[in-house]
Assembly symmetry: C2
Homo-oligomer: 185 residues x 2
């Protein structure tokens, strides 16, 4: 059973920089027959998210208005790795603190996934944080309006099943957590 | 604890139609103070994916080359709901048959998530199919090169933990499955 052969990249061109991603058009050639196709991908920085547990085993969630779905969502904290950041775990801890004011005593990796390998270049790094304590009210920029919600860890499956947590990338992190933190190392 | 107020949509403009999504720029106003911001969203059709079980409890997986990550991935079947399709379950069964040639005897919904509520408008509808039997070799278009891989259902957590299945949207479907099919209805 042989793996599909990698395609040949003929040329790429940037279409437009949308700040959070750059649309890029690829001319590609099928390795089987040389047939050429045009494909669009979104070049994005890596993303992070974090399952953050308080000392009393509550999960730190954030509720905020999202422009894609034009609705409020309930999520775990997360965001983009900044261009200057080389430590993705530090980026996840930074997002947690900026969005919620919570700071952990320990952090471990849960897993690395690809938000959409068909069209996005980037990875999602998911983490588990323990012993989180709130040290301030969060450092949100002017356009952010984030409400912190604490839920018992045992309640999270119900929040998923009842459709209160619907962000696919949050679900990916929760699967890693469900399969056992630390199992990936 | 009040929910964040919905933002005011001032105007939108289509930036570019990339076939699989349309980049759209929104001018929005913060409901708290009227401050205006520009945000980009990707208008996409809804997506589907499907955990397909054979009669002997194996999961039907597909391996294919993906242009976003420029690598082969191992995924459950899935794709876009076509513009004329009103039945998302039928769309999932169609994708399963097109990509693999497998046809199920029964299908049930697993859950509806949002691939990226921050920037995408669309939903992901995940399904569980049972009693799948291969009736042909799949109906791939010229540019597709999909290899069918059958894995024991009990092996799937290991495929996730070992980094062989990394597609975040597949992980979302697997979480729904892990929480118990049918629990959402």
């Amino acid at each position: 059973m042989s793996e599909p052969a990698p395609w040949k990249l003929l040329r790429t061109r940037a279409e437009r920089d949308f700040r959070i991603f750059t649309a890029r058009t690829l001319d590609v050639a099928d390795p089987r027959n040389g047939a050429e196709y045009v494909r669009t991908v979104l070049a994005c920085p890596d993303w992070v998210n974090i399952v953050a547990l308080t000392e009393d085993q509550r999960v730190v969630l954030v509720r905020q208005f999202r422009f894609g779905t034009w609705s409020n969502t309930l999520e775990i904290p997360g965001g983009m790795v900044d261009p200057h950041e080389t430590d993705v775990q530090a980026a996840a801890v930074r997002e947690l603190e900026e969005e919620t004011g919570f700071v952990p005593t320990s952090v471990e990796p849960l897993g690395i996934s690809h938000p959409n390998p068909a069209i996005q270049t980037n990875r999602l790094h998911s983490f588990l944080a323990r012993g989180c304590r709130r040290v301030h009210d969060g450092k949100q920029d002017g356009s952010e309006d984030i409400e912190v919600v604490l839920a018992a860890r045992a309640e999270v499956p119900r929040l998923v099943q009842s459709g209160q947590i619907t962000h696919s990338l949050v679900l990916a992190a929760l699967l890693y957590d469900a399969l056992g933190p630390g199992a990936l190392r």
